[in-house]
């Protein structure tokens, strides 16, 4: 692309984003969609038009996996590399595509047509193996489909002309409850919230009273907040903070001049094995947006964001259409539902391949167009969030629940689930079972029940809540999903007895190493050291010494890391060591220490360069008495 054409693209995109540097990531992403990568000329132009230093733009571009400052192929293929994709044979499929297209993994083909690589879990575990082509998701890959895709790429068929069936993503809802089965019409929850306000509260409603509540504190917003508190709703992102308290803290936070309150929907679900937010957004986006609007009403916010993970780019146009429709229905915009001063609108920002942005303060940094590094806390987002304004960040599922609470009341909701965990939980079931997909249960359901319902047999282990969660062995299957026992963001990954739990843990460790933001020393270096140790075991050079090292690293990551990613990075390893020790013992060739260095493995680069991989090119064979 010529420099002039690039400049034209950049101008168009930047102007659409109001020349706002806080939209830098969105600008980079859209420039890339037009140019296939972000060429230096585009950065020149951004620098001039946004008035920000080049270091800042390159710093942001370099942080996100899906932004390329080196030319990539016209077709950028990324295979999902979660453990479930591996179990479904993604490696062989990737090899097949590489062979078909005569391209080496991770490199760009000589003609610049295509690049093939891997990426973390794409959220398609119930219909894997999955891949992204130019950030559009394709599920259910097979050898046949891979051959077809190779043919399409070779013939330079534009992505828009590929068979639509490829891009069909199933919802696979197997068990629905109050959210997925919601009898809900757009606007109902807002009207119910409005109706809950005392009539004098409504009559005296004006801009101030809508935002701040009546002096007596019993206006519409206050009544809505009370319902949320009464419901006992806790955040569905995994940590389980009480939603009512978070909202109240934000509502009570002082507003500086020119500031406003902000509602953020965290749709950056990146935990390997979870995909329930994908289904909620595809099946009931109105419920989610309505929940955000209820939140805005309750806390007095005027601005809303959905931070949509890059892997769900394919949902963007649909979601924007739903938002446009809501604006037409006066469910967004000015004086929502006829309430004077009830002004709120929602913008969608799309992520670009950084798991750490699911952490709320990193997400806010990313929303501000920066590198997604978790902030120092305190202060917390409820007082100093997006552009230093009071901000609530809640999970997609939390907002969906909030809408239903606004509609049906807090008591109704509190009556579902268990004492400490009110309501339902949507679980993303994948791995070794007959019916992977989405299951919504009232809290308190046992692991065993879920296994039974999804048709899992011969189960060895379940990884609940993804790699940062807990690995549950057979003797623990009567434990329950709930904040009083096993809290979860939703992932439920099943491994039958044929699976090697060491390789499961190793896959997760590679994931954390790749996704560490690199800000703090213990996580940046520690996850790399941990990965090297796991690889050492994989290559058969492990010893008890290495276990001790893993234990020490875990201690350090837990105590010294900056955020939750580092705190939990060792969990899968420690759980599997404790519960599936034989998987590790099998790899311990030595009882004493063995160095990681392996002479034969070091020769692999030489073998590749010479194109020779026969027995004679291996050192071990030589020792074996080659003549």
């Amino acid at each position: 692309m010529h420099a002039e054409a690039v400049a034209g693209v950049v101008d168009r995109v930047i102007n659409r984003y109001r020349r706002d540097p806080t939209c830098m990531l969105q600008i980079l992403r859209e420039v890339q969609e037009a140019c296939d990568w972000v060429p230096p000329e585009a950065i020149d132009r951004m620098q001039a038009m946004l008035g920000v230093p080049r270091t800042k733009i390159e710093g942001v571009a370099g942080f996100y996996s899906f932004i390329y400052t080196e030319p990539r192929g016209k077709y950028r293929v990324l295979f999902s590399d979660n453990i479930t994709d591996r179990m479904q044979g993604n490696r062989a499929l990737m090899e097949r595509l590489c062979n078909n297209l005569w391209v080496e993994r991770g490199k760009v083909s000589e003609d610049g047509l295509v690049s093939v690589g891997k990426t973390a879990c794409t959220g398609l575990c119930d219909q894997g193996p999955g891949m992204l082509v130019n950030n559009y998701a394709i599920a259910g890959l097979s050898l046949e489909r891979i051959d077809e895709i190779a043919e399409l790429i070779r013939n330079k068929v534009p992505l828009a002309d590929w068979p639509p069936a490829y891009f069909k993503i199933e919802d696979n809802i197997r068990r629905a409850d109050i959210l997925l089965n919601a009898d809900f019409k757009p606007g109902e929850a807002l009207l119910a919230a409005r109706a809950r306000a005392p009539s004098d509260g409504l009559n005296s409603s004006n801009m101030r009273s809508w935002r701040e509540g009546l002096p007596s504190g019993i206006g519409g917003p206050g009544a809505t907040l009370d319902e949320i508190k009464r419901s006992g709703l806790r955040g569905r992102g995994g940590a389980g903070f009480t939603t009512g308290l978070k909202w109240e803290a934000c509502r009570n936070a002082q507003l500086k001049a020119g500031h406003q309150r902000v509602v953020v929907c965290n749709a950056d679900e990146g935990e390997p094995g979870t995909f329930k937010d994908r289904v909620l957004l595809s099946k009931c986006p109105d419920l989610v947006f309505e929940g955000m609007t209820v939140a805005a009403y309750a806390i007095g916010a005027t601005r809303g964001f959905v931070y949509l993970r890059g892997e769900y780019r394919y949902l963007l146009d649909h979601l924007n259409a739903v938002l446009a429709n809501r604006r037409r229905q006066n469910l967004l915009g000015k004086d929502i539902c006829g309430l004077p001063g009830a002004d709120f609108d929602i913008e969608i920002h799309v992520g670009a391949g950084a798991y750490v942005c699911g952490e709320e303060s990193a997400l806010i940094e990313s929303l501000e167009g920066k590198r997604g590094t978790p902030r120092n806390r305190p202060p917390f987002p409820v007082t100093n969030g997006y552009l230093d304004q009071p901000t609530i960040v809640n999970n997609v599922e939390t907002f969906a629940a909030a809408a239903m609470i606004a509609l049906k009341g807090g008591e109704w909701y509190a009556g579902i689930g268990t004492k400490q965990s009110a309501g339902t939980k949507i679980i993303s079931v994948s791995g070794d079972c007959e019916r992977p997909g989405i299951y919504e249960y009232p809290f308190g359901v046992s692991i065993r029940q879920v296994l039974e319902d999804c048709g899992a047999t011969d189960t060895q282990a379940v990884q609940v809540s993804g790699p940062s969660g807990i690995c549950v062995a057979e003797d623990e299957f009567d434990r329950i999903i709930g904040f009083e026992d096993i809290p979860t963001a939703g992932a439920f990954t099943i491994f039958n007895k044929s699976r090697d739990m060491f390789e499961v843990a190793r896959n997760y460790v590679h994931f954390f190493q790749h996704e560490s933001c690199g800000f703090c020393t213990p996580c940046r270096v520690g996850t790399s050291l941990l990965k090297n140790l796991m690889d050492k075991l994989h290559y058969g050079s492990g010893s008890p010494y290495d276990f001790a090292e893993i234990e020490k690293l875990n201690q350090l990551l837990q105590s010294m890391s900056h955020c939750g990613l580092g705190h939990t990075a060792c969990n899968p390893v420690l759980d599997t060591i404790a519960k599936f020790r034989p998987a590790y013992d099998r790899r311990m060739m030595q009882q004493d220490f063995t160095p990681a260095f392996d002479l034969d493995r070091e020769l692999s680069a030489a073998r590749q360069m010479t194109g020779r991989d026969d027995a004679g090119a291996h050192l071990a064979t030589e020792h074996g008495g080659q003549s």
């Binding site: 230096p40 950065i43 020149d44 230093p53 080049r54 270091t55 800042k56 390159e58 710093g59 571009a61 370099g62 942080f63 996100y64 996996s65 950084a354 590198r371 120092n376 305190p378 190493q513 790749h514 996704e515 560490s516 933001c517 690199g518 800000f519 703090c520 020393t521 213990p522 940046r524 270096v525 520690g526 996850t527 790399s528 050291l529 090297n532 020490k552 201690q555 350090l556 105590s559 010294m560 890391s561 900056h562 990681a596």
Partner: protein, 235 residues
């Protein structure tokens, strides 16, 4: 208003808004650190200054002091963790102290001595980080970068130039300079910049100066880092 907390049993006074490390250093107590510098906004990334506050680990450079806090710093447990972090910084980059012209003036080296680090312990990563010698007065040897971002902050906040920034992610995080070519010579960086003075290791080096002061007679050769004033001019 003045309050106090205890640090390893010693009563330390502080004023509102002070962080633990600020109050400690005002009271003459040394807490190891690398990315912290009293003249700049705390960053909290190296984690060397981690202490235990009421039993919980936290970075003392970002944590505000509060009345009655019980802070532990010089304990065997915490120093062992700090030592491990220092070792991590050593294996992540390429640090060849004996031949490094920053030797004796280097905070990383001095901190390693302070913590009794006897070996790198972990396997070295040996990253490939080419040197930038383009600038007439200054050499950038990225091999020693510990990503403390002090130069980033100094250039941005004091010099108003934004010469430096961080790019990449995770173990691939790296220092970049503000030029399309990626070369320091193509920026407006000068030796007079504050950013030229703050590097705690040997990344930003003044040319033709290397061994003007012989090794053995340098800052931390004369007194350990725990007893030296809080500045990094050394060279």
């Amino acid at each position: 208003m003045s309050h106090t907390f205890t640090l390893d049993g010693k009563v330390v006074p502080f004023v509102d808004g002070q962080t633990i490390i600020q109050a400690a250093s005002a009271a003459g107590v040394f807490i190891p650190h690398l990315c912290y510098h009293p003249e700049f906004k705390p960053h909290g990334s190296c984690k060397l200054c981690t202490v235990k506050v009421n039993g919980r680990h936290t970075a003392s450079c970002t944590m505000r002091a509060a009345p009655g806090m019980v802070v532990e710093s010089e304990t065997e447990e915490i120093n062992a963790e700090r030592r491990a972090l220092t070792q991590m910084l050593f294996v992540e980059g390429n640090h060849f102290c004996p031949s490094c012209e920053k030797s004796g003036n280097c905070q990383l080296q001095a901190t390693a001595y302070h913590l009794g680090m006897m070996s790198a312990h972990y396997d070295h990563f040996f990253p490939n980080r080419p040197v930038d010698a383009s600038h007439p007065e200054v050499l950038l040897d990225f091999n020693r970068c510990i990503l403390c971002s002090l130069c980033v902050r100094a250039s941005r906040d004091v010099d108003g130039k934004n010469v430096f920034g961080l790019s990449g992610r995770g173990i691939k995080t790296h220092l970049i300079v503000n030029a399309k070519s990626g070369q320091l010579a193509d920026t407006d960086f000068t030796l007079a910049d504050k950013a030229a003075q703050v590097c705690p290791v040997g990344v930003i080096l003044k040319k033709r100066q290397g061994f003007a002061v012989p090794i053995g007679e340098r800052k931390y050769d004369k007194a350990p880092i725990s007893e030296t004033a809080e500045t990094t001019e050394g060279h």
